[in-house]
């Protein structure tokens, strides 16, 4: 499929909109090491965009560029039709970009509910004094945001562990809570760094279903990194393939699967 930039409708009837995020010629160096070499790709509204590649290909670095942890030496990041100046991660979050981490990054000292409520921080505006008083604006805001959070708790089926400290949860549930926290921000773009790493088949199925549901019900644009090829090919609308910091393929799962360079680098070929 050649990308014309115009909105289109996928085979299963989902609306894919305009370009939401456009990475143009991103180059990222750590000292002498080039982690990302002149990569360009875009993420379009409503799609599920996957990034795949062997370890060290620069996928996580790319996610970190998007979320503001790394600042590329060259290239431009465009978001919603505007060039994004260099930003700190919390500013990126306020633009409406949420993410999860490869190694779970939850707040272990807090309950599941509080963890997910932190996802609402960008939507909570009452000041220090109002919160000291509590009655009035602060309580009202808390209750409103709690209602949003409860919808997400229902959606991800974690009602029973609402008040449990996160530190006590098993791995699979932690991953789900992290997704819930990211969703609570009602992001325009959701970045998932290996959402299914270390999960068994059932957990992967659950997570895949949640990702599809999130995309479907909230219309959230999702960019994800994943190693499980079956999952990637099933879930995603378009796939970027990276290898040694270079982009070696970009297109629908079908196109990528038949790309000779991708096959050589990643999917595996019989060597003779």
């Amino acid at each position: 499929m050649k990308d014309s930039g115009a909105p289109y409708v996928t085979a299963d009837g989902r609306q894919i909109g305009k370009v939401l995020m456009d990475m143009r010629g991103i180059t990222l160096r750590f000292g002498g090491v080039e982690a990302i070499k002149d990569i360009s790709f875009d993420i379009r509204e409503g799609e599920i965009r996957a990034m795949i590649g062997p370890n060290g290909a620069g996928k996580s670095s790319m996610l970190n560029v998007i979320s503001g942890f790394y600042h590329p030496q060259e290239g431009e990041v465009w978001f919603r039709g505007e060039k994004r100046p260099p930003m700190k991660p919390f500013q990126v979050a306020r633009l409406g970009i949420a993410r999860t981490f490869q190694n779970i990054a939850l707040f272990d000292g807090m309950s599941v509910l509080d963890n997910i409520m932190t996802g609402r921080l960008t939507h909570m505006k009452t000041g220090l004094l109002a919160q000291m008083v509590w009655k009035g604006p602060a309580e009202r805001e808390e209750v409103e945001n709690r209602a949003v959070v409860e919808r997400i708790i229902d959606f991800l089926e974690i009602q029973a562990i609402r008040k449990t400290p996160v530190g006590r949860l098993p791995y699979g549930l932690k991953k789900r809570v992290e997704l819930a926290r990211a969703l609570a921000a009602e992001p325009k773009l959701l970045l998932l760094d290996e959402p299914m790493a270390g999960m068994n088949v059932e957990e992967k199925e659950d997570m895949s279903r949640f990702i599809l549901d999130v995309n479907d019900e909230f219309g959230t644009t999702i960019a994800l990194i994943e190693h499980d090829m079956g999952v990637v090919m099933d879930l995603s609308d378009r796939v970027v393939v990276m290898d040694y910091g270079r982009k070696i393929g970009d297109g629908t799962p079908h196109e990528v699967r038949n790309n000779q360079e991708v096959i050589d680098a990643y999917l595996g070929v019989a060597h003779d």
Partner: protein, 358 residues
């Protein structure tokens, strides 16, 4: 049997997120408040006020303040004594400069001044963490004590270098100065404790408190969900110093009456309040009270036991007290890093089920 949430249905989110979700807890809270306000003032005598109640109340405020910073926001501070000194000298300067304004306003203003000073000394926290930050706050401690010793303006050029609180009244009743009745001392401290504790609880359960805890638990993840680390840490320093400043102001004006800065607000004070937070429980308002009560009562209890009952020389008992505090801190760090508050939580968990095993 009383202590359970069974049958106590919550129908709104506001009810669900209240401070004491269990009915029994709510009753107990009101009972404690009622006793503190309506019963104790009629029975308090000079010994009880000066040896136990007033220091307990004042240290509770200081411990709440430090707990916000260290327990909730994860920023270790050894500058508590210095910040209490700021509160004390601020209230002294305000009392002497504006004698007609109510002392209550002066104490609150002293808290605000300390908040500004605390936020300024909190700036290094943006660059340094953990031990290094602790050392930076230690610098604040020494600098502030030195400043109040060195610049005569702060102690109004008095010959002794001390500051002493002039007599001030609230509603015609002396609350500072030599003539203060024990119950008046007690009540003014209790008023500040009640308000400070409620405010601190409200701060820590709302979005600001979650920002602090997010920074404490994982600062990278906190940033990714939109917490501005600069703002979160500085508000923690400011809120914390506000409470510590009020504690310092009361400590000087209501409790001691006259203060020599190095003696009253030295590094020992910083450690004492930090120990209160650790023993009481980091990240818990209840723990601040428990820790303050524990470390105020411990010397009194040891003295009663050692000197009055066993008849040991008081110097031996004083040494024993140091040993006991040191030992207890090690015990808590190893056995229960979350302090008395955690013991309390575990007890509550057990009580919920009692007398059934599960």
């Amino acid at each position: 049997m009383l202590y359970r949430e069974a049958g106590d249905f919550k129908t709104t989110y506001a009810e669900d997120s209240q401070t004491f979700p269990i009915k029994f807890d709510r009753w107990r809270y009101w009972a404690v408040l009622a006793i503190a306000w309506l019963v104790i003032p009629f029975f308090v005598n000079d010994y009880w006020a000066n040896a136990i109640l007033v220091p307990f109340l004042i240290y509770s405020i200081a411990a709440i303040g430090l707990n916000i910073l260290t327990g909730y926001c994860g920023q270790v501070s050894l500058g508590t004594g210095g910040f209490m000194a700021v509160g004390a000298y601020a209230v002294y300067k305000l009392m002497t400069a504006f004698p007609d304004v109510s002392i209550l306003i002066h104490v609150v203003l002293a808290g605000l001044i300390t908040a500004v000073v605390g936020a300024a000394f909190g700036l290094p926290s943006l660059r340094i963490k953990g031990f290094y930050l602790a050392v930076a706050t230690l610098a604040a401690q020494f600098f502030l004590v030195w400043l109040f010793n060195k610049v005569p303006w702060f102690y109004n050029y008095s010959a002794s270098g001390q500051i002493s609180a002039p007599e001030r009244f609230v509603g015609g009743i002396a609350v500072t100065g030599a003539e203060t009745a024990p119950w008046a001392q007690y009540l003014i401290c209790l008023a500040f404790v009640t308000i400070c504790a409620v405010m601190a609880r409200n701060l820590t359960r709302g979005s600001l408190g979650r920002q602090w805890m997010a920074i404490r638990d994982m600062d990278i993840a906190a940033e990714i969900i939109g917490v501005d680390p600069l703002r979160a840490k500085l508000t923690a320093f400011a809120a914390s110093s506000f409470f510590i400043g009020i504690a310092g102001a009361l400590f000087f004006a209501v409790y001691l009456g006259a203060v020599e800065v190095g003696e009253a607000f030295g590094i020992q004070k910083s450690f004492l309040v930090l120990f209160m937070c650790i023993i009481g429980g980091l990240g818990s308002i209840f723990g601040s009270f428990a820790g303050a009560a524990f470390l105020v009562l411990l010397p009194v209890a040891l003295k009663v036991l050692g000197v009055d009952i066993l008849g040991w020389p008081s110097s031996t008992v004083a040494h024993l007290q140091l040993v006991a505090v040191g030992g207890l801190i090690m015990f808590f760090l190893i056995k229960e890093p979350h302090g008395l508050a955690q013991l309390w939580r575990v007890t509550k968990e057990k009580l919920r089920l009692w007398p059934f095993p599960y």
